[in-house]
Subunit: 395 residues, 2 copies
């Protein structure tokens, strides 16, 4: 190997490829990065066996070759160099690097030992701009389950059933709360054929780690991200890189049924005001009781946020809200007085509430309360494509 | 207690008083902050028994009183409030706080249980502006010893012997490297009488924790900091606060004798260039060998920075330098050829080198190398008031 590239491009590549979190300590070569000349470019690759990333850097290649070197050392070294040309030469598994007045030798391990990163040779199913997909993933990521007991909900559900209407739906849940985001694609960015070729896939589950990695790697540009899907794997092609991840197995829960389509109390609130009130209420919770109460006062148009931890103290904040009431058919069969009091309030886990408002875009949020027995639905007043559902805590 | 103050002032006070690091878990009340009305102001106090801080907040006091409340909860709560008036009322050991639409009750513990923060009733020995003292402390702090085996070097030595010349000297060492900073005071800011009253004190040792706390609390203003000294304690009065700390006991080492006043090789280098070269060289050190070699090439005016860790690789960087040689009297009695090679290079602990250049003000640094047997001296080319001494590692 003998090549020249710029420090700037190499550093950009390492910011993507060099940051895969690798928990595998039994295979030390996974702490290395694979450098390989590839059709007049330098390809950098990294994998943790669950996902792999490739990144191509424009180079002047004098001699082909491949080697692996310790990722952190190589990345830290390159990031410390001045913005100038970097000369890379391989001699007997030692990488000689020269840049400006810096001369370095880094000991490598043979590329032969490095695990193969799989390829998918297929057409993209859809394309979407980097920043739009990144935003959507960030909004729903907090709702993904962290518990390994139900592996199928430890990823984001990508529903492709409405692709013929140019829509994709992203869903995350941990069974206590749920986030659903609908994205509308441009017609020319959808390729319905590709799915048929891949065996009539209508949905996939993308592991949480892959989503986190993608959020870190996608930039805030309008560049198109291409998504390629096979039965077991998903490939994201963006800028000069691609990332491939295995898919999660299992059947995603039929979540649609839990989203209520009727509501009893609706409160429109300023997102910043209620978020701050929730943060303050969060100071008065503890491990035993981390619940926050929301209570609507229709006559005074106030939503009260309160919490209490007996040994610390208590807090309550009145947030201005526009409140509407709506008695449902089902309530009429029940004791009406009792229902009327109940449907205006509910208790929620502090973190679920705080995550929910954290994902809301725009100035105002709409909160649809259904009492303590039915889920509460949260949306932005201006962007209804994101729905956040929280199951109240029963008193 | 019944008073009103502004959220802004209370929050400022808590940023100072609320951040004392408290390792004492046997006395839970130390996790609390003491609130007490004091001559028409609210006094906030905190202590970890080694040092204590008081901060006065202008208030409209309706009723006197005192209470202690959990520091973190109170500080987090106040910092979340809008910039408005805060009403504080005490009822049966519960603090009622109202601000804008926020209403909170925080359970307190009686002020009677809170340890007394000592007072020094004396005149300040000297005054100096906040930012100048803070900068000086920051420059020499890294050289303070962390080892508890020699307690007297775990603090900063404040030498007052030259106070009659309006100078104070701050010194830190861990016995491998040493930092000395001389500060020149304005004549009107020195009160020589005060020391005589305190029993002819010529120096004190300020504990590292107190120095760290002071660095955190001093702002970057020209406001005068007043320093009051007694036999066992030191008091810093700044802005609306004062901080009192015990002094360290023991005899500070006679450090003057180890600073060489002659040198064999002098190199003038750009601070940014050599700092970056040292950072890069630091990537190629490990636990067993964390040494970096500096070697001067007088004929080419180059200072070479290099390091090698057999299992990782090696690095060397050529930094432009202005190099002067100086054969000492003592060298002439020895084998001249051998000396000439030796005096141009030495090995240093990576961190000592990096801390040393980190403290240098100005564009250029002067490095005075004396071979591997005598200390190396580092100063700024423009500010000779800071001297950094490093003992080389013997090969």
């Amino acid at each position: 190997m003998n090549l020249i590239c710029t420090q700037e491009n190499l550093n950009k590549a390492l910011n993507v490829v060099g940051k895969i979190i690798n928990k595998n300590t039994t295979l030390p070569i996974l702490n290395n990065i694979l450098l390989k000349t590839d059709k007049g470019r330098l390809k950098l690759s990294s994998t943790n066996l669950e996902l792999g990333i490739n990144y191509w850097v424009g180079s002047k290649v004098e001699e082909e070759g491949e080697i692996t070197v310790p990722t952190r050392l190589f990345a830290n070294f390159i990031s410390s160099l001045p913005n100038s040309n970097v000369e890379i030469k391989l001699k007997d598994d030692v990488l000689n690097i020269k840049c400006d007045k810096y001369k370095t030798n880094i000991k490598g391990l043979s590329a032969k030992e490095y695990p193969l990163i799989p390829k998918i040779e297929a057409e993209p199913v859809f394309k979407i701009n980097n920043t739009e997909f990144k935003q959507a993933l960030m909004q729903i990521l907090p709702a993904v389950s962290s518990s390994e007991s139900r592996i199928e909900i430890t990823g984001i559900f990508l529903d492709l059933a409405k692709l013929s209407q140019n829509k994709i739906i992203l869903v995350a849940t941990d069974s206590y709360r749920l986030a659903e985001k609908t994205l509308t694609l441009k017609k020319e960015n959808v390729n319905k054929e590709a799915l048929n070729i891949a065996g009539n896939i209508t949905s996939v589950i993308i592991p949480k780690n892959a989503v986190q990695e993608l959020i870190r790697d996608l930039d805030d540009s309008e560049n198109l991200l291409e998504v390629v899907i096979s039965e077991n794997q998903i490939l994201f092609r963006f800028n000069n890189a691609n990332m491939i991840s295995r898919l999660l197995e299992g059947k995603y829960p039929d979540y649609k049924q839990i989203i209520p389509n009727q509501f009893r109390t609706e409160a429109i609130v300023n997102v910043e005001e209620i978020s701050n009130a929730i943060r303050v209420a969060g100071l008065f919770v503890n491990v035993a009781n981390n619940n926050i109460k929301l209570k609507a006062y229709p006559s005074s148009n106030i939503l009260e946020v309160s919490s209490e931890a007996s040994e610390i103290g208590s807090n309550n904040t009145k947030v201005e809200a526009e409140i509407k009431e709506n008695i449902l058919e089902m309530d009429k069969t029940d004791n009406n007085t009792k229902i009327e009091a109940e449907i205006k309030e509910a208790m929620y886990n502090y973190r679920y509430l705080s995550d929910g408002f954290g994902g809301i875009d725009g100035e105002k949020a709409i909160l649809k309360i259904n009492g303590e027995k039915l889920p509460t639905v949260l949306t932005s007043a201006t962007d209804k494509d994101l729905i956040y559902v929280i199951m109240p805590v029963r008193a």
